[in-house]
Symmetry: C2
Amino acid sequence: MSLRHALLGLLSEGPASGYDLLKLFESSLANVWPATQSQLYGELGRLADAGLITVRSEGARGRKEYAVTDAGRDELRDWLLNTRPATLKRFEMLLRVFFLDHISQDDAIAYLRDLHKEAEEQHAQLAELSEMIAPYRDNFTVNGRLALEWGLRFNRMTQEWADWAIAEVEAHDRTANPDPCKPE
Amino acid sequence: MSLRHALLGLLSEGPASGYDLLKLFESSLANVWPATQSQLYGELGRLADAGLITVRSEGARGRKEYAVTDAGRDELRDWLLNTRPATLKRFEMLLRVFFLDHISQDDAIAYLRDLHKEAEEQHAQLAELSEMIAPYRDNFTVNGRLALEWGLRFNRMTQEWADWAIAEVEAHDRTANPDPCKPE
DNA sequence: CCCTGCATGTAATCCGTTACATGATTGG
DNA sequence: CCAATCATGTAACGGATTACATGCAGGG
């Protein structure tokens, strides 16, 4: 239930509407915890029912401004202090690597080059974001920079790995097995 | 729908029962694409209905041995060649980093140390696995080693990042704000 | 004979995605 | 006045997790 805590965290920085929060998810949290509009409004309702947030005011166009309650703040702290991230990782990109022997060596290398390229592009995108937020000094941005640095290192690491993996696939001679898709 | 392709991939290495496949998921694919028993039997049924796999033989204790069909092999190749991984990444560990200003500096550092430790432990676990599979030379293991190397680099990277982040948090003096949980 | 491991299945529930549906306000 | 943006909500569907439920076979 991390969406719930993401919302509590964002609202702890200050009150906001569902729409405001959606924008925050699209900008700051897009690479870390994506969420859709549907999900967000649904969870806001549930948080309000549970008394962790309240509607502080209603504005134009049916806008509801939510604020976190003391109970909500407690819940956030408890999540941060007393629970550990349950990291069930699914990497489709790596799953494909397991089955690379079912396509030709050239296609396998093309796949790895593609991964390299994507990591390069995402790295560039994050570097740009890093420059954009450079002037800001608020707590949220300071924390965000820690996460961003992780992303930069992650993409650099993936590029280096892809280079290594390409060399590895090239070295592992499969010419003895000209039709690797049907090993029998 | 990657579970489907994971199953097709495993069955392309040779026929197996649901139980066999479950063991493979628990060993080889646990860190890349975890799947539960329920999910697996359900998907096997759907794959059989779709004609991508067939029951090659039925053994003792109701054991059904599945084998991939030509249609299934085509589907696997198509997945590998003509689709790109849709990487929606959710990192609860990083989400928490965004809200580190809601706990004390000491607690924040303790959290980062914990991440370091977990990465260290997972690295050790993967290194052990690496030694265990060292003698094997089959295609599946060769590919698996590529994925494993990514995991080793990932955990090394995360450790280095955690060290950097701890220094960063220590440098960012928050003594001026003695109650960072309630910034107002 | 009993325990462990082999072996399969179903049901409830939750979370996430996509799509549909609607309407108010503001700036050009 | 029209388009873009602000703003919220619901419904259908699919995938994942947890729990429940059952039973056979082989080794000690």
